[in-house]
């Protein structure tokens, strides 16, 4: 049985059809990367999966159980779904440590000692143990995103959602965050990742889902998607990230 | 005898008297607002001057006026000034003086805020086309500030009206005082008079101030863009 299953999901914003009949599933331990042009509905899809957006039709199943029907239960579901956003969303009035402990202590009501141990272990793994008493504003963007990942991980989620977590980082900080995610993939964490880092996507993904205009237009093994995309749209999309033919001093006609 | 209840308000010429009292209140408030605007505008502009000493003096005036409750200022002018100078002033005159001093400070601070929030290049582009300082204010700064200022100034009117209720405490015969008189003279026919009369005055203040507040909010919404 798939860990996460989305069946016929439709989402409208005031009559505007943002997500059209989306269906896919994610196996336990699988890493799915969602690619697609800006505005195609990737963020909205992730937000629907953890109930931040209401959907108009369709089903979302976690471990075979429908999760989108009882809106009063979302807070329980969300404890099993970790999410990291593009904007640095650490709570500014709490230290790193307090940020991480909030969910496990208040939402999951877990034992403080045990959570503290786990938090320190995780912080250590992302190289930020010495920052545990810092406030978010005292950290760099890359450090903040690593803390945000730790904060989600400390809830022991069954699946992690990442929405362009490196998109507003300075280039030299992108790597440190991506490395953490690669590490997680290696450990077998189930993840859905929206990203524009193509090399990273190639390295981390088991499967690629390509979305355009609110529709899934292509699903493929990562290897296959990057080497021989089936649809024209995916081809065009991949070409945007290809700078080779625009190199200065190189005659473009050569290639043709 | 049967209690008149709410009819105490229309008994005899009570309503007329209460309205007369209200007029005194409104008059004091309006005169004070007008004086405050007349003095507040130059005061506010002076507060933006480059002269440090001048700014300091203005600031001191503003803070001094603000930190002491208006009620205390009324006492100082009503009891203290006659004692020091030998000039006795009537309660309504004292009220207008105190409210004008207070209103000038408040209005001045509003003007200062509006002027300093204008982008600097506005003033500079005025200079660049050879306008004098006075002309710059007359044609560039004041017209632009008015939009920012009008809602707050109208707000000042409601604050002034509410504050005017205090003058009864220095012996001015205004609506609350008239109310007391009505209650006293009807104590037999209408034992519950104070409930109705004070309730009515409460209502009167509300129906004067509420539309003004509403209007200010509309203006603010419309001018937000």
């Amino acid at each position: 049985m798939a860990l996460l299953e989305v069946i016929g999901l439709n989402k409208y914003f005031d009559g505007f059809h943002v997500l059209k009949d989306i269906s896919f599933s994610v196996e336990k331990g699988e890493v799915v990367v969602i690619l697609g042009p800006s505005g195609s509905g990737k963020s909205t899809l992730l937000r629907c999966i953890n109930g931040l957006e209401e959907i108009q039709s369709g089903q979302i199943k976690l471990n075979g159980e429908v999760i989108n029907e009882d809106s009063t239960k979302w807070h329980l579901i969300r404890q099993k779904i970790g999410m990291v956003f593009q904007s640095y969303d650490l709570f500014p009035h709490m230290t790193v440590y307090e940020n991480i402990l909030l969910g496990p202590l208040k939402a999951q009501k877990r034992d403080k000692k045990e959570v503290a141990r786990q938090a320190e272990e995780l912080l250590d793994r992302v190289g930020l143990l010495d920052r545990k008493n810092f406030y978010p504003r005292q950290l760099s963007g890359g450090q903040r995103q690593r803390v945000a990942i730790v904060r989600a991980l400390c809830m022991n989620p069954e699946i992690m959602l990442f929405d362009e977590v490196t998109a507003s980082l300075d280039p030299e900080m992108v790597r440190e965050v991506l490395d953490v995610m690669l590490e997680l993939a290696k450990e077998g964490m189930t993840m859905i990742i929206v990203t524009h880092e193509m090399e990273f996507a190639k390295a981390v993904a088991d499967r690629i889902i390509f979305i355009d205009g609110g529709e899934i237009t292509e699903v493929a093994e990562a290897q296959e998607f990057f080497t021989q995309p089936k649809t024209e749209r995916a081809k065009n999309f991949l070409n945007i990230f290809n700078f080779k033919e625009y190199k200065k001093g190189v005659d473009n006609n050569e290639k043709i | 005898m049967q209690d008149l209840g709410i009819r105490v308000l229309i008994e005899g010429n009570n309503l007329y008297r209460l309205m007369g009292g209200l007029l005194v209140t409104v008059k004091i408030a309006l005169i004070s607002v007008i004086i405050s605007i007349i003095f507040g505008i130059p005061f506010g502009i002076v507060m933006t001057s480059k002269n440090k000493l001048l700014r300091l003096v203005c600031r001191a005036y503003l803070e001094a006026v603000r930190i002491i409750p208006v009620m205390v200022w009324l006492f100082i002018f009503y009891f203290g000034v006659p004692k020091l100078t030998g000039i006795h002033l009537a309660g309504d005159v004292v009220s207008v003086i105190v409210f004008s001093i207070w209103g000038t400070a408040e209005k001045g601070d509003l003007v200062r805020g509006a002027v300093t929030s204008l982008p600097k290049h506005q003033k500079e582009s005025g200079k660049a086309i050879g306008l004098t300082n006075v002309q710059i204010y007359r044609y560039i700064i004041i017209p632009q500030s008015v939009r920012r200022l009008l809602p707050a100034t109208i707000n000042l009117v409601t604050r002034m009206i509410k504050t005017t209720s205090l003058v009864v405490l220095i012996g001015v015969v205004e609506v609350l005082k008239v109310g007391q008189q009505v209650i006293e003279s009807f104590v037999l026919q209408s034992p519950s008079a104070s409930f109705w009369v004070y309730g009515f005055i409460f209502f009167l203040y509300f129906i004067i101030c509420y539309p003004i507040s509403l209007f200010v909010r509309k203006l603010e919404l419309r001018w937000k863009e």
Partner: protein, 219 residues
């Protein structure tokens, strides 16, 4: 100026000052509670309650405290509701201050970004927990300057409670002027007393405002 006389009456002012502070303190605390409640009702657009809250705010904003006090103290007993003068003053101050505090909190609540709320929700916190641990502390921090300004405002507003014969600073002053005719001394002490209460608060507020403008959490 009669220095001996001033010394003599200073104990009266001390008592009255304490009374003013006590009244103001209770008024401020109640105003805060009312303000928080009202601003949350509006923030979450709670049906029905929202209407009541907005009417309350309009009534409170558009009527003078003095009239409210007269109605409470002299008017209500005639329909069987007898309240002590102190109770009336407390109710009046809270009724007035509540709407001001609500406005202060509204600003703070609006300053908390949607992203913060969603980050909290995605940790599996309930709406109430998000309000308590994320929205509320951040809103409070943003509102502190306005809350401070409102507190000073409420202290100043207590200066009219002598109208319902409460023995505050104004009451003592009027008494001394009436009995001894020592107007200058009484007024001087009155001003000094208010300055002792208000000046430190006002300076503290200026300092806090400045700090908040240039800093944030973790500085």
């Amino acid at each position: 100026m009669d220095i001996d006389f001033i010394l003599e009456i200073s104990s009266l002012y001390l008592e009255a000052g304490k009374f003013t502070l006590k009244l103001a303190f209770i008024g401020i605390i109640l105003s805060l509670l009312i303000g928080i409640f009202c601003s949350l009702v509006n923030y979450y657009k709670v049906k029905f309650l929202k209407k009541i809250v907005n009417w309350y705010i309009e009534l409170s904003r558009n009527t003078p405290l003095l009239i409210q006090l007269f109605f409470l103290y002299y008017g209500l007993p005639k329909v069987g509701i007898k309240l002590g003068a102190f109770t009336c003053a407390v109710i009046g101050l809270a009724f007035l201050g509540g709407s001001y505090m609500a406005e202060a909190f509204r600003g703070g609540l609006e300053a908390v970004s949607k992203a913060q709320i969603e980050a909290g929700l995605s940790l599996g916190l309930t709406k109430a927990q998000v309000t308590r641990y994320i929205i509320f502390p951040q809103a409070l921090a943003v509102s502190i300057p306005s809350i401070g300004a409102n507190a000073i405002f409420i202290i100043k507003e207590t200066s009219i409670v002598s109208a319902i014969s409460l023995k505050d600073l104004m009451f003592v002053t009027k008494d001394i002027i009436g009995i001894y005719y020592k107007t200058n001394e009484a007024l001087l002490m009155l001003v000094v007393a208010y300055l002792i209460i208000l000046l430190p608060l006002s300076l503290l507020l200026t300092y806090v405002e400045r700090r908040l403008r240039y800093a944030g959490f973790g500085n």
